[in-house]
Symmetry: C2
Subunit: 357 residues, 2 copies
């Protein structure tokens, strides 16, 4: 197994050691039927002995493939994105691909720069899980003919392969659940405005509020950017209203946690005084001390499906029509939601479910 040379063995080294031509070695190692079995065996032994492994670089240049795909996420340190990535990774690894990841920090300029970096590398495809819904990069990729899949981010104008979830159904379910508990003043903490998923979550909330109550008090809408701090700020905002909400639906779990923290600091009980729901079901939500009622999106599956679509697109670059995969979510009811304080006195009722880990 040692090399003996100061560099990785090349196909020429193997050829020389075997007394054969490089092309024969190539054919033998590729399992082509043309080479005689004994020759193949010799080649394989020799390659093994020299520790020969074909250079992905050279092969990539020749074949115009890298067997690497790139993933752009907002922040790999956010468990939701980490789960997405984990899903992609498993699927890609099974197909012999590796995965280059980049965190954009929701920064469009950084995203553009990262995209350029990745494109220069001539990756086989890209999964975009952080792109703004109106980004110019998406049409550009399309024009360049680079295979890509949008993950949980829909583009306003460019029809694309897309994997997402029923965001609107998720928030609607949260609202319905709260309404069934007697809540009427249900507030919403939004996600980043340029994210299509955040838009859908808002739309689900709006739709269900309209259906149930015939309308919506716009003061119950707080801006947010998925960071916990915005959840805290939203609470401060809500509590100065003439009629504060009795329930808060947050567009993601982090903001829900932030809101809960702030409510607690302000001396309000959850769910006694205010019910709270989140979105994403990051593992924290399931911890018994938290028990956050939230919408579970099956993040790993989302990542895996995105990888699936991308692999398909790499196989048939321009051919097929854009495909869409929408996974269903489910409302996981835990302990942060309870009866509305006006229709029923604050209770300490808890519907604990089995923790996920």
């Amino acid at each position: 197994m040692p090399d003996g040379l100061g560099r990785p063995a090349t196909i020429k080294d193997v050829a020389r050691a075997c007394g054969l031509a490089p092309s024969t070695v190539s054919n033998a190692l590729a399992g082509k039927a043309v080479v005689r079995p004994e020759t193949r065996a010799l080649v394989q032994r020799t390659a093994e002995r020299l520790g020969y492994r074909a250079s992905g670089l050279a092969r990539g240049l020749r074949l115009q493939r890298t067997w690497t795909v790139g993933a752009l996420v907002a922040d790999i340190a956010n468990p939701f994105f980490a789960d997405l990535v984990r899903g992609m990774e498993d699927r890609l690894w099974a197909e012999g691909y590796s995965l280059a990841i980049c965190s954009t920090d929701y920064d469009a300029d950084k995203e553009t720069a990262l995209l350029r970096l990745l494109l220069d590398k001539r990756l086989d495809g890209l999964i975009l899980a952080s792109t703004a819904s109106d980004s110019d990069e998406v049409p550009r990729l399309k024009r360049l003919g680079v295979p890509y899949v949008l993950l949980n981010r829909r583009h306003v104008s460019e029809p694309s392969d897309y994997v997402g979830m029923d965001n609107a159904v998720g928030t609607a379910a949260a609202v319905a659940h709260l309404a069934a508990l007697g809540h009427r003043r249900i507030a919403f903490i939004q996600g980043p405005p340029r994210s299509s998923a955040a838009g859908e979550r808002l739309a689900g909330y709006r739709g269900e509020m309209r259906r149930r109550f015939g309308g919506l008090d716009e003061s119950l809408l707080a801006p947010g950017d998925y960071a916990a701090e915005q959840g805290r700020a939203a609470v401060d905002r809500f509590l100065v209203l003439p009629a504060p909400p009795t329930a808060i639906v947050a567009a993601n779990d982090f903001m829900a946690l932030g809101a809960m923290e702030r409510l607690r600091e302000r001396g309000l009980a959850v769910p006694g005084d205010v019910s709270v729901t989140g979105f994403d079901d990051i593992f924290v939500a399931a911890l018994p001390w938290i028990g956050l009622t939230t919408v579970r999106p099956h993040s790993r599956d989302l990542g895996a499906r995105a990888a699936d679509l991308l692999l398909g697109r790499i196989g048939a670059p321009t051919a097929a029509e854009p495909r869409e995969v929408i996974l269903t979510s489910e409302l996981v009811v835990r302990g942060t939601t309870g009866p509305a304080p006006l229709s029923a006195p604050p209770s300490s009722r808890r519907r604990a479910t089995t923790p996920r880990r």
Copy 2:
């Protein structure tokens, strides 16, 4: 702008459009002083117009560099590793490198296979944050001359670039803190036996116990693998002892959380009946409902320093001696530790600290 051809523009396309030779284009774009300023300007304009970007593949083959490094972590969905990766990523991105990540799931075979995949790609270097301390892969990499850095995993025999933390100091501090609170029967939940970091954490615990109490009851040692489930199991194990521990030091936060869950299920109060400490300070630990006393390792810094070392090694492959960087940790005291129940009655005392997010 657009390409017009069905493929990325090549240096030849630019050369042709300019009426120059490819080598001149190359020199012009590389900013070499030999080309006349007007020529350079023409080339730059044309390259821009054609949307030319040098192929990393071809350049990599020629230069024998890929400007990509690989990172092997146990599980990117684990916040500790995600933080490490985030630290690497930021540092590498600043230097124009991209990062390929792989989760090994603590599986040696998978790790070997992933390593092979990455080596075939001829990456510029590797950061190993999941490798067992006795893995054969490390000497192999050394022999191959592939730049690599071990992160939080020391190898038993192969001197290597290494970035780690004072694991032993961390657990020792936890024990000291508990001892100061009057605890004497302090149990320990171990990490995976083949991880050097886990070994150091155990050693720190052992050392401090010996120093303080002159010895150690081996029944206070539970096996673990960093998964929450092992924390639960450890509690079951401890509670059947004739003299159960009044405090538990876990080798990571997940196991600490698992232990806390189980204690709670068994009707024991934390810290009233049993104090618990963790290790890693994942963001969950800082949530006010949890308030886990734990050791903070500055994960992102660890990742960043590993990237630093690797970049240095890539610059001077064999030259320099192996370097070591050890970052200090700090004990973050929160609400899961309190006075020992025998020396003082269980109290509801809480030392809440400011939440990190």
